[in-house]
Subunit: 177 residues, 2 copies
DNA sequence: GATTATATGTCAATGTATTTACATAAAACA
DNA sequence: TGTTTTATGTAAATACATTGACATATAATC
């Protein structure tokens, strides 16, 4: 794919501003690819667990709730911060998962504003015995020809990018409290 | 953030399957971060261009249409393949952009099934004079402390990941034709 | 030339993402 | 102790993502 074309996906060529041209072109390509990766993860990742009645978002939630440290459940606000989605979005997704029988939503005994989310036995069964094997197969295909070194590097850069985005979020938005 | 906890975000610890444990843990962390990066790009990127009445999706579209090679417009199917979104999704987004006066949608003279999308003078004005300076500022913040070498590496890995996801898409889905 | 297969765009249903708003509860402050 | 500020979850509106379905147009095949 023409690198010039890729560069222009997010913006057209322009006179140099604060960023040098090379740096600007590279920035643009990075965010364009991140945008495409996100769409492709949604499309192909959801297909991988479609037969289990799951989506990529629900797989993230079930993964979080299945950890040993989450055995006693997680508060909605904890889970929303952990996943980096708004509590309004998470609330709606959890309602659907509750209707499907995958999780239970219970009042928090220590704070009446709060709700505690736990995976149900049925949810755990579906997660561990049906979804996880397919997720592993998906990872193998998606990370084909990635060495452990490659994986270490991409993860490092994603964490670094994420730290910067968190800072932008903190400065620009109404902070989720 | 506890790496063990990150690993479990997408799945709980498990006995080794086809993937070694180290590789599986790393896979999980990569996709979890990709998922978070996507959400944060959506949230912080949309805020960056909110005053222009744009979203990250529209910024991708306007970037694509602003390239010199797209001066005569792009067909819907071309644009959907370029952005890696479905033509059904793109159709709806373009309708809103047409209503906002940012693009025009015209019949393709050579193929009556096809529609050609072009950015309007008003759209180009908003894009070049209002959105682009904010997008550059966003890139500077988001890629703070990334060297050109870092940027080259993360881009390389994202392209590689994207190639793998395209292969999964080709094998598993009904191919968009 | 007629028929079949494929391509293209739109519609509808559904899930997921944000923001703003509101109600209730807890924390902080005077 | 009372008041103010902040926290938490849900509701509503809107934008964007998918899939399946359908109508029309073009390409391929016979």
């Amino acid at each position: 794919m023409n690198s010039y074309r890729n560069m222009a996906a997010f913006m057209s060529p322009s006179t140099e501003q604060n960023m040098g041209t090379a740096r600007l072109e590279m920035s643009n390509r990075i965010f364009f690819r991140l945008y495409q990766c996100a769409n492709m993860l949604h499309k192909t990742g959801s297909r991988a667990v479609q037969e289990e009645g799951l989506t990529t978002q629900q797989w993230a939630i079930m993964g979080a709730l299945s950890r040993p440290k989450s055995a006693s459940g997680m508060a909605v606000i904890e889970l929303s911060q952990y996943l980096m989605v708004t509590r309004q979005n998470l609330s709606a997704v959890l309602k659907r998962m509750e209707s499907a029988g995958h999780v239970v939503i219970q009042p928090d005994e220590r704070d009446r504003r709060s709700r505690i989310i736990q995976i149900t036995p049925m949810g755990r069964e579906i997660w561990e015995n049906k979804a996880l094997p397919k997720i592993r197969a998906y990872y193998e295909e998606a990370l084909d020809e990635f060495s452990l070194g490659d994986m270490t590097h991409i993860l490092h850069y994603m964490i670094k990018l994420l730290e910067n985005m968190k800072k932008i979020d903190a400065r620009s938005g109404v902070q989720d409290e």
